[in-house]
């Protein structure tokens, strides 16, 4: 005789609320956006990007009416009933207690970035690497597995290769443009996919729509580093990514005068990342938050100009006899046409190109350029130029670089906001000198 009542039709729970049998169901607090205070300006999602850049998150100073967010350069805040209650209830992220927990300057810049990303919440860090480390550690468990790519930024690669296994997480590195390789790497312990929306330096594009669909099917979290594109050009959360990360050192701040990072997404995940961040450190100082907030105000304007110049430079470089392959979605040889599924014509302001004559010629080009500074980093108002073979990818052997597609003579060019004609003229004279040398 089968008498089982398994499944949802099994005996119920409590009779009803009127019986006075309250349990966890009676708890009142739901998740809220933020953290933010009443003084933090909230800008509706329907507003334009430039408006969000300027206004979202501004702390509207009630005491003297400061138009811009004041700097709350303090490590600690006076106790109040809210503070004591937050210690008991656990909502310490939402109350000013101590700057490692949170500070109105952090909340201003977080509110601005969350608004730009279309996210419930953001958390800022003292670097992009701090954001990546706290995110990966908090969203996986000991024994967990991460699928990522060899093409990620060198610092990220080192973290994945050298450190994650020390924390009990294993990592598989695959070709980010091959959905088959990603699928084959997924195993029972896989919890998270981590990729860059455009890779460094070759601007390879993962098949993001397929990756996200795959992740949903397999119950995996998708974390995307969108440093090269910024929320002005592409918002990964809109296509279903769970977390978006930026090195704010780059375009988000845009002035090459601070180091910072951010993670954005649903508050339930960002709270977990924040809780990890609280333990491992790497909080962003109030004065750096102030600088980042100021930099973000011009993000939309800067991206517009930088992208326009980059597009023109791609056209120019593509026709120059001293330039071999150009790596950019607008270039002739670009192999990842699905990039348009998410970028929709906005490909940012990074370009990589191969100089005829190999690394020696590329080194000579750097010496002849007058406007772009030969320096690491990217995304600032000033153009920067570097060679992967002796900087970001110098730890690899020549064969390993070739396997990734980094050929001799490759130059990475971060296009700044200088006048386009000046940048082209500078490249023209520098490339011309290469011709004279040969």
């Amino acid at each position: 005789m089968a008498i089982d009542r398994d499944g949802p039709q099994a005996l119920g729970n409590f009779p009803d609320a009127e019986a006075g049998l309250e349990w966890s169901n009676e708890l009142k607090r739901g998740r809220v956006p933020g953290p933010r205070l009443a003084q933090h300006k909230v800008v509706e999602a329907a507003r334009g990007d430039s408006t969000k850049c300027v206004h979202a998150g501004t702390f509207e100073d009630p005491s003297v009416g400061s138009v811009v967010t004041p700097i709350f350069q303090t490590s600690t805040f006076l106790f109040s009933e809210k503070t004591y209650s937050s210690f008991t209830q656990g909502n310490t992220r939402d109350v000013p207690i101590y700057t490692r927990y949170g500070n109105p300057n952090q909340w201003s810049v977080q509110e601005k970035i969350a608004t730009l990303e279309g996210a419930e919440s953001s958390v800022v860090f003292a670097s992009g690497m701090a954001a990546i480390f706290s995110t990966l550690l908090s969203l996986t468990n000991r024994g967990g597995h991460i699928v990522s790519s060899r093409d990620v930024y060198g610092g990220t690669y080192n973290l994945l290769r050298e450190d994650m296994h020390q924390f009990g997480r294993s990592v598989s590195l695959v070709d980010p443009t091959s959905i088959e390789q990603v699928e084959q790497a997924i195993c029972d312990e896989t919890q998270l996919l981590f990729f860059e929306t455009l890779t460094n330096p070759l601007l390879k594009a993962p098949r993001l729509l397929e990756l996200i669909a795959l992740a949903k099917r397999r119950q995996l979290l998708v974390v995307l580093d969108n440093t090269f594109l910024t929320p002005i050009l592409f918002r990964p959360i809109e296509i279903g990514a769970d977390i978006v990360i930026h090195s704010c050192t780059k375009y988000m701040n845009g002035h090459s005068d601070l180091v910072a990072g951010v993670a954005s997404g649903a508050r339930k995940y960002i709270d977990r990342i924040w809780a990890q961040h609280l333990k491992v450190g790497g909080q962003l100082e109030p004065i750096s938050c102030f600088l980042l907030e100021r930099g973000l105000k011009t993000l939309a304007l800067r991206m517009r100009q930088q992208q326009k110049s980059a597009n023109d430079l791609v056209q120019y470089l593509g026709q120059h006899p001293k330039v071999g392959k150009v790596h950019h979605p607008l270039a002739r040889h670009y192999q990842y046409p699905w990039v348009d599924q998410f970028c929709r014509g906005n490909f940012g302001a990074m370009i990589a190109f191969e100089v005829v004559g190999g690394d020696e010629a590329a080194l000579a080009l750097l010496r002849h350029l007058r406007l772009p500074a030969a320096a690491t980093s990217l995304g600032g108002v000033e153009s920067l130029v570097s060679l992967p073979f002796n900087t970001s990818h110098s730890v690899l052997t020549a064969a390993q670089r070739k396997a990734l597609g980094i050929e001799p003579g490759l130059v990475r060019f971060s296009v700044g906001i200088e006048d386009t004609v000046d940048l082209i003229a500078d490249l023209e004279q520098a490339l011309g000198k290469l011709g004279a040398m040969s």
């Binding site: 089982d4 005996l11 119920g12 409590f14 009779p15 468990n141 967990g144 949903k216």
Partner: protein
């Protein structure tokens, strides 16, 4: 933080699963495999928690049948005690934290005895020291008897869907069967002479972490230490398996033990044997968010993988019999009665016989 739990996180989760029921569904899984004739290894596998996956990197040794000579592993029956006791304690911690009660001490002693007819008798004593009056301490204990998933699983009837997969040089073959209860209510038969007694003593440490010992009176071994915890996604710190994972470890090991005993009797050489148990939890039921959501562990599945030489039909029958003869599977399928004693600050508050009749009365759905 109260009792080491972030009450805001519990509250936010309650609101989330009310709006998105999918996030409340968790599926735990433990795989038990034979190491040698009298020792198995239970490997806790990744759990599916709502829309994400939670890796669980735990391996437990389990003694099969006769005690391991060097006494290095608890038995399936002992893990079963820990699964019940751990679930009751952690439910008490969640409940008291939600209701604003701060615990200073919380412990449980679980005991299951068996007579020669293999009739079980389950009981536990809960020991509470908290900043609440006796009435509230007692009320929380009563709620726990309704809302602890493992306790509740034992009160109700359950089915186990099983799949047997054999492999040998000739290929693979599969069969399926369902284990279910054959009686509607708990047995009220008195036990005759007790032939086996298994015990677990657990103490709450902090948050969702519990420590204790398991032992069995009949074999004279010393107690084995056990630690229990929850995944960090459920406010634990990933220190140890949780009570549902222990329950599946116990069930898998008991079936494996039963299988090896039968194979020994029939002189069948088993080359490889694994027993995989999994089951679902609907956290909406456990947190009383949705009264129609089941509290108990449900959708329980067993998968036996067997590599042996012999007649395939006979091997399928042997595996099916191992499932049917597993005393812990029977304990889970049939409704049980659990004798509960509740003590506050060392003084006994009350005893209750937690069973289907009381459950129906408590749920006001008729006896």
């Amino acid at each position: 933080m109260r009792n080491g739990l972030n009450v805001s996180n519990v509250s936010e989760f309650v609101h989330e699963i009310r709006e998105v029921p999918e996030e409340a569904r968790v599926r735990y899984r433990t795989q038990v495999s034979m190491v040698r004739a009298n020792l198995a290894r239970a490997r806790v596998r990744t759990c599916a928690a709502g829309t994400i996956r939670v890796a669980r990197a735990f391996e437990l040794p389990v003694a099969l049948g006769a005690p391991v000579p060097d006494g290095s592993a608890p038995s399936a029956a002992e893990y079963f005690q820990a699964a019940l006791g751990g679930c009751v304690l952690v439910t008490y911690v969640y409940g008291s934290s939600s209701k604003g009660v701060t615990l200073s001490r919380l412990g449980i002693a679980v005991e299951t005895t068996e007579d020669a007819q293999r009739r079980p008798r389950l009981r536990y004593a809960l020991d509470v020291d908290a900043d609440a009056d006796d009435r509230q301490v007692g009320n929380i204990a009563r709620y726990v008897s309704l809302l602890s998933p493992n306790h509740r699983t034992l009160l109700e009837t359950n089915r186990i869907d099983a799949r047997i997969e054999l492999s040998d040089a000739r290929g693979r073959s599969c069969s399926e069967l369902v284990l279910e209860s054959t009686r509607a209510d708990q047995s009220d038969d008195a036990q005759s002479d007790v032939v086996a007694s298994h015990r677990c003593d657990l103490r709450w440490r902090y948050g969702t972490q519990l420590d204790g010992h398991v032992c069995s009176a009949s074999d004279g071994r010393l107690g084995f230490p056990v630690t229990i915890d929850q995944p960090k996604q459920y406010l634990g710190i990933d220190e140890a398996p949780n009570p549902q994972e222990l329950l599946f470890a116990a069930l898998g090991a008991d079936v494996l033990s039963s299988l090896l005993d039968l194979a020994d009797l029939r002189k069948v050489a088993i080359k490889r044997a694994t027993v995989d148990f999994s089951g679902a939890l609907d956290v909406r039921g456990v947190l009383n968010v949705e009264r129609t959501a089941p509290v108990k562990v449900h959708a329980i599945r067993a998968e036996l993988g067997l590599e042996a030489d012999g007649d395939q039909a006979e091997l399928h029958e042997l595996a099916a019999r191992a499932l049917r003869e597993s005393s812990l599977c029977r304990l889970v399928c049939d409704p049980q009665s659990i004798e509960v004693t509740v003590r506050s600050r060392g003084s006994e508050l009350f005893k209750l016989s937690s069973n289907q009749r009381l459950l129906r009365a408590q749920l006001a759905i008729g006896a």
